[in-house]
Symmetry: C2
Subunit: 362 residues, 2 copies
């Protein structure tokens, strides 16, 4: 490999001169500059970022912790975040947590070893993760994406409002008995969507007589199995208000699985049962029936998350000196509670073929 030393020798200057040409931090005479640039070009020199990182104490890289890349929602988020980071000169280290807190801890430790400048974190399961909090305590800037965690900065959408819009729509259509198939129980997105749903139903003029709740993973298989389990329990055989006339899935993948299962049960969507999703990934517009869902501005969420993280990184909000600074502030004057930014982006209800008024009661 050709190093800065080789360039210096080839150009007949010192190593520091080459560095100054590259960084522009000190004036260099034009002839020298040209000779150096020519040598760089000729030798195909490429600075070693490990060495740069060692002295600058910054690897210019971000850790991206994501639960499940096979889910196109996370895929497109990851894509948008990587692109935003790249545009700002940062690389992204991909970590697939697979909903496993142990894996998360493992990755976190690796990322700290690699001196990442910040973390983009999609919580997979119940939050917060202990290892993540330790990383935060160690002074690594973190932005939580797609999920609200009280004491950590985050970027996410107005899940409550999304749920509410769905609730209003369904209430207005006349649905009073619903099955809510949630994601992991206790996850703020899930809870917010559910609470919004309740509020929307009430606003729409229908205190639901029956709201059945199921929780599980954010996966198609969970939607599929839940429907079949419910069917086995006789949920869909019930009469009157007992029988759900609409299925509200906590995300699009769950809805997709549910749709399949409903079809296998000979329940036609939306004639026999309405169905809604959440997230608005691409396929929801393509399937039959097309899915009524709540559209997230996922690219905006992704770029906002990266912006927020870089802002925190570059403002030096990080660093283990933080504790010391705090102490300082404490001595000087009344301590100001640090502001934890939460960026909340709006969602859009997209009404498509999968909803209709409930069927006439049998």
């Amino acid at each position: 490999m050709t190093t800065i030393k080789d360039v210096a020798r080839a150009a007949g200057v010192s190593v520091s001169t080459v560095s100054h040409v590259l960084s522009g931090r000190r004036p260099i005479s034009e002839p020298t500059r040209l000779r150096v640039l020519e040598a760089i070009e000729r030798l195909g020199y490429r600075p070693n970022r490990l060495a740069q990182g060692l002295v600058s104490k910054s690897s210019r890289s971000l850790g991206l912790l994501v639960p499940d890349l096979a889910n196109p929602f996370f895929g497109s988020m990851a894509e948008a975040m990587e692109i935003a980071a790249h545009d700002r000169g940062y690389s992204v280290i991909l970590c697939n947590t697979n909903l496993d807190p142990k894996r998360e801890a493992d990755y976190l430790s690796m990322l700290l070893s690699r001196q990442v400048d910040g973390l983009l974190y999609f919580p997979g399961t119940r939050v917060p993760n202990r290892a993540l909090l330790e990383a935060v305590a160690a002074g690594v800037p973190v932005v939580v994406v797609d999920e609200r965690i009280d004491n950590l900065p985050g970027v996410f959408v107005d899940n409550f409002d999304g749920g509410r819009q769905l609730g209003r729509l369904l209430a207005q259509l006349g649905h009073r008995s619903l099955l809510f198939i949630g994601g992991p129980e206790g996850l703020p997105t899930v809870t917010d969507r559910l609470n919004g749903l309740r509020a929307g139903l009430a606003e729409g003029g229908s205190a639901p007589t029956n709201l059945l709740l199921r929780f599980g993973e954010y996966r198609a298989s969970h939607g599929y199995e839940t429907i079949h389990v419910c069917a086995r329990e006789g949920v869909f055989a019930a009469v009157g208000d007992e029988r759900p006339t609409a299925v509200v899935a906590a995300n699009d993948m769950i809805a997709l699985g549910a749709l399949r299962a409903l079809r296998e049960l000979q329940l036609q969507v939306p004639r026999d049962c309405s169905l809604t999703g959440f997230d608005g990934v691409e396929f929801t517009a393509m399937i039959t029936p097309s899915l009524t869902t709540v559209q997230q501005p996922s690219t905006r969420v992704a770029t906002a998350a990266v912006e927020l993280l870089l802002q925190r990184i570059e403002s030096g909000e990080n660093h283990r000196d933080r504790a010391a600074q705090r102490q300082q502030a404490h001595d000087d004057q009344a301590e100001v509670a640090p502001v934890i930014p939460h960026v909340v982006l709006p969602v859009t209800l997209v009404v498509r073929e999968s909803v209709a008024p409930p069927p006439p009661q049998r």
Copy 2:
């Protein structure tokens, strides 16, 4: 940050002793070892991988170049590769090439700067990319995934056979007029699938009287628009052998878009027109009608790619000394042409609801 120096001081030993405790390369007395480990634990020491990489000349990281993470096929591949790499102690730097050769070149340069030990490369468009070949020439081990490139090691599936199985099936059902909606023209996967399709059709006893070809991106929008464009051109209004009775999409995303467009044209799948995909991503089983497709063993492809790459890395197949070694070999004896491994994995035809015999001629 706490460094190895801090640990050494705390344990009352030299820096090298701490290093030896950690690496086990030299014997250390038990009491010393324990004191060092205790100090590490107490200080929360974590070795700096940048520094390690600088001296070991290996970052223990891989570059992953992928065209489009929003496509769940690439998403699940990326996921599986990252997991396999992590299991072997390597990190993955994510690069979203977005089908743009310029971006690819940009990423490649960055990855070399970061001293990645190897590259996992999904070609997006016409191959090979100049920048990639330069990286290879520079001695970075590369494995091409999902695509056959003659002079580069690769892992991919038997696309020809997949196409052939589809062709046989369709021929046996009686289809003689087909529309093939390809991915990027000239991409080996696309060509192989198409050639296989032709062979299969012939084997199945139907030299197609009409095989219409369209090329474009591996995206749902391409399938969607192609169908509409064809409709506008009167393709589906033709009578007799002119009218395609089956649409063969080069991958599942294209098929998904095509399915939607066909439905908008009031063409029912499979009654009026059969439809097939390729790859076998999860949603193909869930949509209505469920999609006949060719299933790739994507996890196996992904892990095989990582295995192959690590094998090449760890066998020291890399390094710029390669040229020198070659020269050496040349002097010693007749030069042995280096073997470029191509791992080809089998595919499985999955027949689902989206195919049927062609409708009776109007």
